[in-house]
Amino acid sequence: MVYEKVLNLITDLKGEEDDSITKETLLTELNLDSLDIAELIMNIEDEFNTTVDERESLKSIGDVVEFIEKKIG
C-alpha cells in the first residue's frame, strides 16, 4: 500500500509511469534532480502526514517505504 502510493508520487513527478522502478531502485537512479527529490520528500510528508527527518539514510525506494511504514505504524 505504502509502496504503491510512493510509486504514484514518483509518477506524478516524472509526468509518466516508469515500469523499471522497483524497491531496489536508488533515489539517485530515478532520473530526478536534487530539487525533484526535495519535492518528492515533501509530497511523501504530505501524503502520509509525517515528517522525513533522516533523509540521508534513505537510499532506495525500499528504504523510503520501510521508513514510512515504521513511522505511521
Binding site: 506524478d12 509526468g15 509518466e16 530526478l32 530539487l35 525533484d36 526535495a38 519535492e39
Partner: protein
C-alpha cells in the same frame, strides 16, 4: 557594417498558436477577445480578455516532467522559441538528422517578460500563508524568476552566447529585439533568439491592473479593445509569447535561410515622468521613434507602416498619436498606422515581439493588419489607423513602438529586405 535580419518567427497568441494561423487572423481582422473563462469573474468588473486557447505544452516538451516545473509564461516562451528555431532552421547542436549551423557561443537569447511567473508566485504565497514555509516548492524560485524563460531556452537550444532577459514592462520585447539587433550589429553574436512572454491572466494580475485604472471594464468584446476610438476606456489583458530569430545577414545567407525583413533602427528612451501615465507631450515616445527613424535612414518618399503600441487607453493613444505627429509632421497623415491589440489584446511583455511579427506582413504578404472595432473618431487621434479592414500596402519601412509602465519607450525599424542593397 554588419546587417541584421529576421530568419524565423514563432507565436503563441490569443489569435493563433502558430505563425500561419496568427497571420491569417490578423489579415482577416479576427479578434481573440472574449469573456474570461480562465477564472470566475463574478467579483471583478473585468469581464473580457484575450486568452490563449487550446495550448498543449505536451506538444512542445519531450520530457513531460518539465511541464510541472515550468510556469505557463516559460511554456509559452519555449513553445514559441521552438517554432521560431524550426522555422529558421538554425541549430547550435547536432540533432542527429541535421548538423549544427551556428557556433553555440555565437547564439544568444534575449527573451524577457514584463512580470514573470505570477501564477507560481501566487500559488506558493498561498501555501506559505496556509501551510507554512516548509511547504513552499523547491522549484518555486527557478519557476518564477523573470529570466527563466531565457535560461530555459538557452539550455534547450545550447545557446552559449549572450543572454539578456529584458524587463521593461510593456516595452519588454521591443527592447529585446532592439538589443539583439545591436548585439549582432556590433559583432557580439551571430544570431539571437529574441522576444518576450507573458502569462498573467490571473485574478491577482487582473485586479492589480484594474485597480490602477489600466483595464477596460466593458463586457462587450467588440467595444473593449478599441485603440484610437473616442470611446476607448482601457486595455484588454492578453497573454502569449512572440519569438524571433535575429541573425547577421551573411550568416543567414550562407545557410540559405529565408529572410522576412531587415532590422535597421532602434530607439530606447525614458519619460522620466510618471510610473503609469505617459508624458503629456509624449517627449520620450517621440525621442525613441526619432532615434529609430534616423538610424534606419528612412527617406522622404519611403512608404511607412507603423504598428502602434495603441493600447486603447485614453492617455496612451493620444500621446502616441502626438509622438507620431511630432516625428513626421504633416507626413504623419500619409502613414498607415494600426494597433493589432484590437485583436490580440495587450500581451504585455510579449506585445512588442508579436507586433514586430505582425509588422513583417507588409513585406511578406503586402498587407497591413487593421485596427478592428473602430467606430467613433477622436479629434485628438486623427491619423490613418487602417480601420476595421486589412489593407494592401507594401511599405518600405515598418516601425513598431512599445511604451511601458515606468516610462520606458522603445521603437524598432524594419525594412523590406533587398539583398542587392549596398551596405552604407
Amino acid at each position: 557594417m554588419r546587417r541584421v535580419v529576421i530568419t524565423g518567427m514563432g507565436v503563441i497568441s490569443p489569435v493563433g498558436n502558430d505563425l500561419p494561423s496568427f497571420k491569417d487572423s490578423l489579415i482577416n481582422g479576427k479578434s481573440g477577445i472574449a469573456p474570461i473563462t480562465r477564472f470566475d469573474t463574478s467579483e471583478t468588473k473585468i469581464k473580457v480578455a484575450a486568452q490563449v486557447e487550446n495550448f498543449d505544452p505536451k506538444q512542445y516538451f519531450i520530457d513531460k516532467s518539465e511541464i510541472r516545473k515550468t510556469d505557463l509564461y516559460v511554456q509559452y516562451a519555449y513553445a514559441a522559441a521552438l517554432q521560431a528555431m524550426n522555422d529558421s532552421g538554425l541549430r547550435a547542436i547536432d540533432d542527429g538528422e541535421n548538423s549544427a549551423n551556428c557556433d553555440p557561443e555565437r547564439l544568444g537569447v534575449y527573451v524577457g517578460s514584463g512580470i514573470g511567473g505570477m501564477t507560481t508566485f501566487y500559488d506558493e504565497s498561498v501555501k506559505l500563508h496556509t501551510r507554512g514555509p516548509s511547504r513552499v516548492s523547491p522549484h518555486f524560485i527557478p519557476m518564477m524568476i523573470g529570466n527563466i524563460a531565457a535560461g530555459t531556452i538557452s539550455i534547450k537550444f545550447g545557446a552559449c552566447g549572450p543572454t539578456l532577459p529584458v524587463v521593461t514592462a510593456c516595452a519588454t520585447s521591443t527592447n529585446s529585439i532592439g538589443e539583439a539587433y545591436l548585439a549582432i550589429k556590433h559583432d557580439r553574436a551571430d544570431a539571437i533568439i529574441a522576444g518576450g512572454s507573458e502569462a498573467t491572466l490571473t485574478p491577482l494580475a487582473v485586479a492589480g491592473f484594474a485597480n490602477c485604472f489600466a483595464l477596460s471594464e466593458s463586457d462587450d468584446p467588440e467595444r473593449a479593445s478599441i485603440p484610437f476610438d473616442k470611446e476607448r476606456n482601457g486595455f484588454v489583458m492578453g497573454e502569449g509569447a512572440g519569438i524571433l530569430i535575429i541573425e547577421e545577414l551573411t550568416h543567414a545567407q550562407k545557410r540559405g535561410a529565408k529572410i522576412y525583413a531587415e532590422i535597421c533602427g532602434y530607439g530606447n528612451t525614458s519619460d522620466a515622468y510618471h510610473v503609469t501615465a505617459p508624458h503629456p507631450e509624449a517627449n520620450g515616445a517621440t525621442a525613441s521613434i526619432k532615434l529609430a527613424v534616423k538610424e534606419a535612414q528612412i527617406g522622404e518618399n519611403d512608404k511607412i507602416y507603423i504598428n502602434a503600441h495603441g493600447t486603447s487607453t485614453q492617455l496612451n493613444d493620444k500621446a502616441e498619436t502626438l509622438a507620431i505627429k511630432k516625428v513626421f509632421g504633416e507626413r504623419a497623415y500619409d502613414i498607415a498606422i494600426s494597433s493589432t491589440k484590437s485583436m490580440t489584446g495587450h500581451m504585455l511583455g510579449a506585445a512588442g515581439a508579436i507586433e514586430a511579427i505582425a509588422s513583417t506582413l507588409t513585406f511578406t504578404d503586402g498587407v497591413v493588419p487593421p485596427t478592428i472595432g473602430y467606430k467613433i473618431p477622436d479629434p485628438e487621434c486623427d491619423l490613418d489607423y487602417v480601420p476595421n479592414k486589412a489593407r494592401e500596402f507594401k511599405a518600405d519601412f515598418a516601425l513598431s513602438t512599445s511604451l511601458g509602465f515606468g516610462g520606458h519607450n522603445a521603437c524598432i525599424a524594419l525594412k523590406r529586405f533587398n539583398a542587392d542593397e549596398r551596405t552604407k
